[in-house]
Amino acid sequence: MVYLTRLEHFNAAHKLYNPAWSKQKNEAVFGECANENWHGHNFDLYVTVKGNPDKDSGFVMDAKQLSHLIKENVIEKLDHKNLNLDVDFLSGKICSTENLVIEIWKQLLPHIPANVTLHSLKLYETPRIYVEYFGENLQ
């Protein structure tokens, strides 16, 4: 079994805000991330699939094909967008990096070829903050 990772990136605006809470409580919990006028990040997304190298090609998966399907199903919907306002699959969700990585998993999973398994996503919000997701407790 070999693990193959493709790195893609996008940048976006967002805010952390729970509409069920008062403005005061949002500021207490989310601090400067609750800025009503948004802020933003350069996100880096690491997508790892696992499988056995094909006997003929030597590939677990064509990395170019992996790049295309990430771009088509995730990056095009997120890049240069406002995560809270512009992204159908985040509608009604709190745009934390944790929630974002789970929703990206859901977008990618149906497009992963049958001969490999989606193993993990690693999503960097800043060079110093990242989350990882392995598809556990997917609802």
């Binding site: 800025n35 350069n42 890049d79 240069h80």
Partner: protein
């Protein structure tokens, strides 16, 4: 003259949008592309402030970098970090917040706060791959 350059790196993240109100919608879209999104997008900015001068005879410092860090944090990061550059930062009320304009604004904020004996140059990374320098 035995000049040395010293550097302090800081970072902030912010939302922005590239838009010229004098252009019509189609022209804005054509020139600024997806950066024109009316709902904004955002970046992690990296800011490098370079000061050049002779080390002080008594301290050995060109500048105390902790002091430089404090000046950048108080005057730039406090106003830019987790903000919307178009909406929250007065300098961009009528100025397009391109990386080029941001670096000039930051230079103009910091220059009066640093000794005239030191040369200043600022590099601003908008992404890992896009960065600007001022003055040149």
């Amino acid at each position: 003259m035995n000049k040395v350059a010293v550097y302090r790196k800081e970072h902030f993240n912010a939302a922005h949008r590239l838009h010229n109100p004098e252009f019509d919608e189609a022209t804005n879209e054509k020139i600024f592309g997806k950066c024109n999104n009316p709902h904004f997008h955002g970046h992690n900015y990296e800011l490098i402030v370079k000061l050049t001068g002779e080390p002080d005879k008594q301290t050995g410092y060109v500048i105390d970098l902790k002091e430089l860090s404090g000046i950048i944090k108080e005057n730039v990061l406090r106003r830019f970090d987790h903000k919307n550059l178009n909406l929250d930062v007065a300098e961009f009320e009528h100025l397009n917040p391109t990386a080029e304009n941001i670096v000039i604004v930051i230079y103009n904020i910091l220059r009066p706060l640093i000794s005239n004996h030191l040369d200043m140059q600022i590099r601003l990374y908008e992404t890992e791959r896009n960065f600007v320098e001022y003055p040149v």
